[in-house]
Symmetry: C2
Subunit: 384 residues, 2 copies
Amino acid sequence: MSDFAALWAEIAGVGRAPGGGYLRYALTPPELALRDWFRAQAGRRGMAVTEDGNGNLFAWCSEPWAGGTVLTGSHFDSVPHGGGFDGPLGIVSAFLALDRIGYHRKVGIGAFVEEEGGRFGVPCLGSRLLTGAIAPDRAAALRDRDGVTFGEALGAAPAGHLPQITRLSAFVELHIEQGRALTTPIGVASAIWPHGRWRMEFTGAGDHAGTTRMTDRRDPMLTFAHTVLAANAEARLIGAHATMGRVEAEPNATNAIPSLVRGWLDARAADTGTLDRLLEAVIKQATERAGRDGTELSVVAESVTAEVAFDTELARRLSALLGDAPILPTGAGHDAGVLSAHLPTAMLFVRNPTGVSHAPAEEAGVADCEAGVAALARVLEALT
Amino acid sequence: MSDFAALWAEIAGVGRAPGGGYLRYALTPPELALRDWFRAQAGRRGMAVTEDGNGNLFAWCSEPWAGGTVLTGSHFDSVPHGGGFDGPLGIVSAFLALDRIGYHRKVGIGAFVEEEGGRFGVPCLGSRLLTGAIAPDRAAALRDRDGVTFGEALGAAPAGHLPQITRLSAFVELHIEQGRALTTPIGVASAIWPHGRWRMEFTGAGDHAGTTRMTDRRDPMLTFAHTVLAANAEARLIGAHATMGRVEAEPNATNAIPSLVRGWLDARAADTGTLDRLLEAVIKQATERAGRDGTELSVVAESVTAEVAFDTELARRLSALLGDAPILPTGAGHDAGVLSAHLPTAMLFVRNPTGVSHAPAEEAGVADCEAGVAALARVLEALT
């Protein structure tokens, strides 16, 4: 068994649900078990482990936060029933890359908390806190589906901005590619599409499904359904991505017209202008339909991330180091996108043959994962 | 305070959720508390209480199940966040009606279990079991949202068919009206529309919301949304009622295309032919859209109830007794509909000024409720 396959097997069962997907929500037992594993791996290699008061964990070969250190790593948390590669691949590969180049370098490995936003709703929460992109009190008050706040799960008020992040010379995140654009084992990221998630609340009048005349109804499920179809159609027209994959109805009973339907819009586009036009078109259609249904609509931006262009020079350098690896953009958000505003940042992608991600079928081949370790080792060696 | 207001106040707080709606699922603590209250009320009046092994409770003035007994009563369970009148009004009114006419008559009061189907999915489960309309092993295996079976909640295998039901001379259920059709305090039911609930499962391919090209998607939320709008449009065209008020998505994450969306169709019409045509039209539209979306559709009938015409002679007699009370049909299902196949059955409706039901705003005025008690007393007196 390769060193990759052996180390990967140590975590492959953690948080795996029937059906093959993972339930590794931030700060729940499976993700806490992965953090313990992280500490143990660091310990085996004589690396010091620090926490930043925001839920992010770091292992260091050298002095924590020393000037000129290159940070690598990724996250452990998953979307509900997501794949096992999205996040953990970058952390496992980081330890293995250090095994190849030795531990005498200025290198740190980060495990960022709540990258997916799968528990508290705001993606990249750990890196946003660390860089001051979200106020600690706002983050502390975010609630999961059971009403537990991020502050409660963390056990303390988040520490917020750590100025020492800018002392680092670079952040390099290795990640499984999440589309089908990469046809070689390894690629380098050019940019992350601007993207965001918007919570849309459709309010109507709860009533009896059997006895309420169709003309007397104010059914918010209709407005939601129209908005789902409008978001899809507008995204196709405009060349963007729109998804409404999460929905909650109240009271959610078969024989009751709902009083409230909540739907989340995930929208992404190659540039901010296109994303803005998409959002505007979807809200316009939803509002018009609400007028016809006698319902009301409110829209809250839960998180909006501007376009991220990674450091062009660094991307070119890494591509050259890796035998002219292709440079490509992605529609997926990453902690690297948040950190890129504060220090030179790059991403390495490992090929994903089916392109599936955020689902149990997400998979990278072992040979490609080993190529990823070798590539990351090469990059860390060159940058330190 | 009237006797009605005083007795009503005893149960008004049981299972009341913030927001004013009720969470009185069958065999959960609030509904069990109402059963204890039922036993106490029967005890105060010297009535014997029996259970039928199916979860239905009975209080008897005379020998249980004696030939010629008139049964009245209703149910305690609610839809999630439903109103407080739907069900309990018929039980409270029954005790008060007996207070007026005395306890020397052949009268029983029933409290049927799981009338709404809000916990285990099949409405009128108690009366279906009692009359043999559902097999005890099928009922026992029905699961609630937490995976608990009806058999487990009941604590035993259901007893099933009780032949003695046909010894009774009549069943009369008093119930709040659930539409705006009744403009006098009291009405008499003529019929229940044929109706049913169908679980529709839309299966697609779970994937990443950010990176999956629109043309590569097989998103079941689109097929669900189209079906919601189709059900509404077809019901309006055909003069029927259709509602999709309950939905579940998997994994239900903002940044994931769902792999599965489950939606429930509640459909009702004045006659079986219309209901059949409605269902056929909705499934046709859903199937066509699934073809375009690359998704798959399966439909399971969770319960289908044929048209119920109540005993015409009995309805006319009650209407005459009550000063020519109006005789009207309803789109709502009731235990009386199930029992009507086995013994002469009638329903009394109490006016509902707003017509709202299955929602916190459901309300009948105290004077109308008192008129309901007087009407039920008059009817029980005349029939025994």
